[in-house]
Symmetry: C2
Amino acid sequence: MRLADVVVVGAGVAGLAAARTLVAAGKNVVVVEARDRVGGRLLNAGIPGTDQIVEVGGQWVGPGQDRVLGLLAELGMSTYPTHDTGTRLAELGGRTLHYQGRVPRLNPLVLADIGQAQARLDRAARRVPLAAPWRAPGAARLDGQTFATWLRRHTYTAAGRAFFRLITEAVWCVDPEEMSALWAHFYIHSGAGVDSLINTTGGAQQDRVVGGAQGIAEVMAAELGNRLVLGTPVSRISWNTDSVSVRAGRRQWRAKHVVVAVPPPLASRIQFEPGLPAERAQLLQRMPMGWTIKVNAVYDEPFWRADGMSGQANSDRRTLGTVFDGGPPDGSPAVLVGFLEGRHAQVAARMDPEKRREAVLDDLAGYFGPRARSPVHYIEQDWAAEDYTRGCYGAFATPMTLTRFGRWLRTPVGTLHWAGTETATRWAGYIDGAVESGQRAAADILATSS
Amino acid sequence: MRLADVVVVGAGVAGLAAARTLVAAGKNVVVVEARDRVGGRLLNAGIPGTDQIVEVGGQWVGPGQDRVLGLLAELGMSTYPTHDTGTRLAELGGRTLHYQGRVPRLNPLVLADIGQAQARLDRAARRVPLAAPWRAPGAARLDGQTFATWLRRHTYTAAGRAFFRLITEAVWCVDPEEMSALWAHFYIHSGAGVDSLINTTGGAQQDRVVGGAQGIAEVMAAELGNRLVLGTPVSRISWNTDSVSVRAGRRQWRAKHVVVAVPPPLASRIQFEPGLPAERAQLLQRMPMGWTIKVNAVYDEPFWRADGMSGQANSDRRTLGTVFDGGPPDGSPAVLVGFLEGRHAQVAARMDPEKRREAVLDDLAGYFGPRARSPVHYIEQDWAAEDYTRGCYGAFATPMTLTRFGRWLRTPVGTLHWAGTETATRWAGYIDGAVESGQRAAADILATSS
């Protein structure tokens, strides 16, 4: 039995940010991580035969993400812009559109439809209080319907609907039929609006982290040194009003507080003793994860750039619905990074890996021509298959969950504290939200123990 | 390390029915139960100072529930009719109605509204294939909306809507805003229609089990003798294609198959090694439990019967929305049994126990007069607070869960089999469904191993 002030469960960015803040305040901290690595949903993968990497997890930061940008500065890390010049490609409502700038040249009726729905969404989203979404005007009505129901009511053209379905898949990796409309509104406000969520330059996909985003976790882990314990899944947390005991196999720690910094479905796997209060337990039953399989195709050269294409493509009829240029400004390595999202990920996960690879490369060739069919390397990551993640990018709230149980997302339960990007108020679901959540959990502990 | 043919996790009716079937076929079976008792969501509570009991969990069986009725006969157990004579009471849309027979004397417009919506619901429900609800006509559309959205579209009066909200609370212990409309349709078909679900005589509340429904589990447990291990929460199941190893604290069993016979949120707490397939894991993230606090108020005598009242009452404006006469035909003990459901349970759970008791007794007095305010005993059970149940009556599917992940409800994963009333095709959510599910899991194992 080892002693500490705080045990942090989970060495993703949330847990590490919590630990870093607590250590800086002089606390004795242990971070216990199930995997043999840090980073959670951030992960670099080496490109075979090179010293280069691709990112198979979260990889972007953007303007307004002040917490992660601040952390990067503190850690002495830097960013570079996502490649964002050249023509974009959109397949929508049966048409294929090459365009530059923000919006494809859809027919005016569809553009008007998308415009009015997006304006309505942004306006209503801004009225959702980030710390208490259940207090939004009409919260219960919004939370009592799926986002699909909302879209069906507020869009008037098939292509307009297809556009928002595509966005839902790209932003949340879920079908709009699964998710609460209030969660969608909260999340849009949390990420500063629809454009902010979907844009490259000026939005959430604007910048990349030099060395790969997992580096954020690795640098924090290095600072922590032997305060970090890897390969140790926590199975049980015993708690009372002034202490906790955290057990992982035969190892055990006693502390004054614990920060559980894992997504809700993983928190559900921990045995709490005594059991969690009913409302917190019910919340954990109602926040499932999205599903994405992320694909990196590495080429000899970024041939699409030479063809004047940005590498950005979206389609409402392909399995690989979202693609970006995944390389640095100099194009080495040359990478197309694509996402199989929601339903598409599920269908693709059932396929034989060779067939899945073929289907993905067919889609890339459909976007960028036949050269896309022959990458030098093909690297994929199915986050729902990962036993210590169980989905990506993040958890979402099913209908009525925020209204009935949302206040338990962040509220500490005695000595139990909750972190993870899903508990953030700003940029929930993003790396930035993870940083916010860890820093907030640490601040809560420091406030009670100082 | 002990050896068995099959380990069953959970000694509710589902697990015990599975074990019983397997033992009868000559299999070596161990049933491992977390609690110090059997019965899961069935539980008797002694009335202090008497040898009588009330039932604080599931308590009814009804016509068409052939599996549980067959099992009762096999176990030599018998039933008696729920007290169902006298006036019923309904508070709906601002009116208080005393009535006999099936339907209160609502205004004709409301009656027509309820009638048409119920007919539509029953008709569509019958078209939902019980073994594959996702193949129903329009399944994805139904599954992509909450039941609240469906009701809003298909009812036209405030009192009609209130009626179906009341039914939703009484049948599922959830708000219609939480639940998939397809799950509602499936469940209605599974329970033979709306009337069948809500009726006393002729419906799911028609009969009681002599000695209390928990007796079903207790008699099966007695048959199993030392094959049953109590007080032993299973924490980990290691599995491969031809064997499983089940660990609970320091105890461990090796077997050819395991039957996991606990509700989905509890199955989520078990660590599987290797991890579950992604689709099964995603399913477990999307089936939360309803919430009910069940109250038994025991009186000197069934005074409401003397007043010509049946003891049955419903209200769309009280916390205690559903009440029945909970006593045997001779009225001894004299019991009013009521349910705080969904939202109402959640709000009541936050109250000081004395205040909650007062609120419940106020409601009973509102229904049955001031004598109801003074029970001899007041016995309540909050199923969401129970760490080894986490809600009641059962789990439900959030929107799009059945369509995307429903086929994983019953499908064995290698040597892992799934039981529990939520996995039943007929009377899912009822004791009968639990029996079906256990017998089906056993039959699956016998089919593969003979």
